[in-house]
């Protein structure tokens, strides 16, 4: 009888293999800026002459905001205007657009940019301290780790843009 006791089945042990998860695309700040920029189009009124054709959002230089803007605006429109995202490598490349975003690391002097877009009815969005005082209409700033934006109604008026009161309420007004 004892010999039966030694009959055993050997079973090899299988290891558990967890999948590896990675970080979501690395730049949520770029996403937040892109969401802001896209939404500005809903709170700003452009001149009648600029409410036909494509609605152009331009970015000067390189920025991860370009990818985020492309992602969130694909297939979207402002009124009847289909949104187009354009990247301009240099100031010389900048064409007329409804919104122009200048990332913080772009070294182009702000007065040159303002001169370039003057009369184009363009909402100039920047992200450097003091740029609103130099003529930008909206400037991204960080407050308590959060993305906020300054807004100059005066600069908007100079660019013939009407900014809704709702956007002013959401902003840090500077004038």
């Amino acid at each position: 009888m004892r010999k039966l006791i030694f009959i055993l089945t050997l079973i090899s042990t299988m290891a558990f293999s967890p999948s590896t998860f990675y970080f979501a695309p690395p730049d949520p700040s770029a996403r937040v800026k892109a969401v802001f920029i896209y939404n500005f189009s809903k709170y700003v009124e452009w001149k009648e002459a600029n409410r036909a054709g494509a609605f152009t959002i331009g970015v000067l230089g390189t920025s991860s905001v370009i990818n985020e803007l492309t992602t969130i605006t694909t297939g979207k429109s402002v009124g009847s205007q289909k949104i187009e995202i354009k990247a301009f490598a240099t100031l010389a490349d900048v064409k007329k657009c409804h919104i122009l975003f200048v990332p913080a690391d772009n070294a182009t002097p702000i007065p040159s940019i303002i001169t370039k877009i003057k009369g184009n009815n363009t909402l100039l969005v920047t992200e450097k301290d003091g740029y609103v005082k130099q003529g930008a209409i909206i400037n991204f700033v960080i407050q308590s780790n959060k993305q906020k934006f300054e807004l100059s109604k005066n600069n908007a008026e100079k660019a013939s843009l009407k900014v809704s009161q709702s956007l002013v309420t959401l902003s840090i007004p500077v004038d």
């Binding site: 009888m1 039966l4 006791i5 030694f6 009959i7 055993l8 089945t9 050997l10 079973i11 090899s12 042990t13 299988m14 290891a15 558990f16 293999s17 967890p18 999948s19 590896t20 998860f21 990675y22 970080f23 979501a24 695309p25 690395p26 730049d27 949520p28 700040s29 996403r31 937040v32 969401v35 802001f36 896209y38 939404n39 809903k42 709170y43 969130i72 960080i142 780790n145 959060k146 993305q147 709702s166 956007l167 959401l170």
Partner: protein, 292 residues
């Protein structure tokens, strides 16, 4: 003639009594013989009678044979039936150990229980997916119970438990990634990795996974389509995202301290970037260059 008849009856009666007595003492062995003859169902019937028989069920042998026969029966059954049969087999071996204070047969009990434990563990691994993870948890618990009986301080069990929880955590993360309304799945994932840290607080993978999950949750909050279309929700979403990024930080810093790799450095860079902490963002961005 009458006397002859009486003698004949007496012989028959004595034979019946003798056979009956032999059958009672030998049924456990009979069960094994029947099993050896290839009749597993018959062996089960006999051994089930033995374990109900108060004259036999106080010896470890009977319970050992029950465990053995049920273990063999499970091999011939469908996966679902086999599971319960293996549980019964395990319980029988456990009882055999209890009835064997001198540990005469402990080595054999242990070997059999170890085989069952491996089977439970393998089945748990095979069931670790989005649909059957609850069964995987149940099967893995039986693995732990088996090992607790034969080797309660086995360090390999703790190691395996951490591996299981890590794998289970990824199942819950997958569920949440497919449907971000499944907050329960997110909480379960966090729970699994947190339990690993209760066993081993400097476990690099668990710290990293907790960091990744909290960070990704923050990103998901900001990327919510409702937020994209409504600027008034962005501020609140930003606050909620920051809470998640801050939750991620201590875990990633611990992973960085005890086993940094590219993904950990990348995670810290992402978090400080998301928190708009430019100096620390720059520090880890620079360090990330070393991995290129």
């Amino acid at each position: 003639m009458k006397d002859m008849h009486h003698i004949y009856l007496t012989i028959v009666m004595v034979s019946i009594i003798a056979c009956s007595a032999m059958a009672q003492t030998n049924t456990a062995e009979e069960a094994i013989s029947v099993w050896q003859a290839g009749n597993i169902e018959g062996a089960v019937t006999i051994i089930d009678k033995c374990v109900k028989d108060p004259t036999q069920n106080t010896t470890w042998e009977v319970w050992y044979y029950k465990g053995f026969i049920y273990k063999e029966l499970a091999k011939k059954q469908t996966a679902e039936l086999a599971h319960n049969t293996r549980i019964e087999s395990f319980m029988a071996f456990k009882k055999a150990i209890l009835l064997d204070p001198k540990k005469e047969n402990f080595d054999q009990d242990s070997l059999n229980i170890k085989a069952l434990a491996n089977k439970f563990s393998n089945e748990a691994g095979a069931l670790l997916n989005e649909k059957t993870y609850d069964k995987a948890i149940e099967y893995f618990n039986y693995y732990k119970q088996c090992m607790a009986v034969i080797d309660p301080n086995n360090a390999a069990v703790k190691q395996k438990e951490m591996q299981f929880k890590a794998a289970l955590g990824t199942v819950f993360v997958t569920i949440f990634e497919k449907d971000n309304t499944r907050e329960d799945a997110f909480k379960q994932a966090i729970e699994q990795y947190s339990q690993i840290l209760k066993i081993d607080s400097i476990n690099v993978n668990a710290n990293k996974q907790l960091g990744i999950n909290y960070y990704n949750k923050g990103v998901a909050i900001v990327e919510d389509p409702k937020v994209v279309e409504d600027i008034t929700l962005l501020d609140e979403a930003g606050d909620k995202a920051i809470v998640q990024y801050r939750k991620a930080l201590p875990y990633l810093l611990r992973a960085y301290k005890y086993g940094k790799d590219k993904s950990v450095v990348e995670g810290l860079r992402n978090i400080y970037h998301a928190l708009n902490e430019t100096e620390l963002d720059a520090k880890y961005t620079l360090e990330l260059e070393n991995y290129k």
